[in-house]
């Protein structure tokens, strides 16, 4: 094995991915928490005999935990995310509790997708999805790219794939 230091991805996502994630993922958990607290709690208290103030605290804890998680995850996730396109390899590193570092040889990619949801478009963001021929876990996503950077990456990949093609 080569003793040389392994190249690491160093490019970061767009910072505006944090408000995007907050809005996209955080909103839903906020809605769920609010529903559970303002709708679920009175119903449970009314129709379930086993209800006691202790359960109140548990439910409150769960709701607050959910909201806290939704608020805390995006900045942490953003801080961890690195990607890079180095020497025919697409590298990415991400994750908070479960950290993953992925390396995909560009020429092994089957196709490359550029995905932009409505909310993503609002933020001027794009997600790059590359597919390999593997069966499980064959799709690799890089979220939170600026639209121009995503297109650039895609073109780079397509070019690298097509470069050595026999005519």
């Amino acid at each position: 094995m080569e003793p040389a230091a392994t190249p690491r991805p160093h490019e970061r996502l767009q910072p505006r991915v944090v408000p995007y994630w907050l809005l996209a993922d955080g909103l839903s958990s906020l809605v769920v928490s609010a529903l559970a607290w303002y709708l679920g709690r009175p119903l449970l208290a009314k129709y379930w005999d086993g209800w006691s103030p202790a359960w109140d605290n548990v439910l409150l804890g769960i709701c607050l935990g959910l909201v806290a998680l939704a608020v805390l995850t995006p900045p942490l996730s953003y801080a961890r995310w690195r990607f890079g396109y180095l020497g025919d390899l697409l590298l990415m590193r991400y994750g908070i509790l479960f950290v993953e570092e992925r390396a995909v040889p560009v020429r092994r990619m089957q196709h490359v997708d550029l995905v932009r949801g409505p909310l993503e478009r609002l933020f001027g963001l794009a997600t790059l999805v590359v597919f390999t021929a593997g069966n499980e876990g064959s799709a690799f996503r890089v979220p939170g790219l600026s639209a121009t950077r995503a297109q650039e990456l895609r073109d780079q990949i397509v070019e690298a794939r097509g470069d050595g093609r026999r005519s």
Binding site: M1, L89, F98, V99, V104, T132, N135, G137, S138, R166
Partner: protein, 539 residues
Amino acid sequence: MTDAGPEPLPAGTPPADAPATSPPPPARAEAAVLARGHLHPAILILRLFDVLRQVGFLLVVGLVVERWFLVVALVAFLLQLGYAVARYLTLEYTLTADELRVREGILERQERRIPLDRIQDLGLESTLLRRALGLTVVLVETASGRGVEARLDALSRADADHLRDVLLAARSERLAAAPATASAAADGVADAGGAPAALPAPAPEPEWLVHQSRAGELFVRGLTDLRLGGFVITGFAAIELLDQLGFAARIAGVVDSAQDWVTQFPPVVTVAILIGVVVLVLGFGVVTATLGNLVQFHGFVLVLRGDVLQRRYGLLTTRQKTLPRARIQRVTVEQPWLRRLLGVASVKADSAGGSRTQGEDTSGGWDVVVPLTRLPDADALLPALLPGLESQAFAWQRGSRRLIARLALQGVVLALLAGAAALGAGAGTGIALAALLFVPLWALLGLLTWINLGFALGGPFLALRHGIVGRHLAYVPTARVQAVVVGQGPFAQLLGLADLTVYVMGGSPTRLPDLTLADARQLAHAIAERAAIAAAAEW
């Protein structure tokens, strides 16, 4: 290795059903037709049986209960039979130098084109009934991961053999025509210009016998094939069924009386009776497993013809499967604990065709390359599957010792959770303390895992050894790697450990657990770099 040609090729003599007289190609893109044919007429007899079986119930109802059911049966019979006849009449397959075309359908014509590049495996299967009629089912597998892409049920034996031989020859010609890509292009693009001009009948290449199973080996395979889990499930299902049928109470009564009957003996006899029952159950499992293995893998032969491996086996349902060596994504030498004790192993090869989880047999044993043999023999025949393996010296490295700590830590967490749960449920402190046993147990598990864990990168191969009581060896050609992932769970982050997962086409991913983070990163990079270089060379 001995040269054995048990089945001579029908070289240059195409069967009557598949005229090799290719019509002149209408367009430049259209390649010469190498084989063309229809299903064998005898399949109609089988279809007739099928249809009769399907309408049998209606027929019985019609005869016994209501006369008008006979009409329904007749209509259903005619419809089904008509469909079968129509399918038989319209299905036509064509093999050109570029692709395999299967056309069928009356109202909705469907033509399926499978480029030869994409064909991973070709299987021939023949059940007892089909064999009696001289029929063979042809299964075409592609890398789509869905397994069987096209199924020709059924051709005459001669047609099937001819199709296989022509297809293999055409493909090896294509590979030879593409420069420096002989090992190539599991995911290659179809090169339209590379079609060879003229393809005569396949040249008969010598066949090398790689492995032949002896009955003794299959017998041992059956003996060591303990599917106790299956037994427990079967027993449970049986009890449930009896419960639903209302036998439960009666059984409980029987059990009670049996208990009374047993307790009247001294304890020694009781234990003996219990052991006897267990032995009886185990014995039944061993006998069925042994018979099953003997029937399934009867006369197993693995031969190498050119660059293509071929397997032939089966007593009732005979199976033939080709596996181009270039398509092998991973080879595993598997030794569950019982087989490890006996020093025997089975060898499996993953092609890109289908996926499976480790240690499991796919139906029909499609991925089994060697059902069972002594470990040195298994090691000796690996180079026949992965050429170049014999010249690689693997410098085995161990995983990190910290993996024992990781598992012990998990044991602590488990013990705390279990203990708390036991106390919460109102169990005594004795039981709660017993939960502490998780810690040494998990530590022992970690120790065993660490002892068996090893990895090595030798030239174009990644080798992995793992197991707890048994042992599994896996070889992955790095050139076929699709992606490499280094992952760290929460415990692993705490201890500076990491898992390495290697993805190949089709097959299930290969995982190397509990390396140090630095080792994992270095290894991942080395593998990814080799894969990238190999991918670049294939273009």
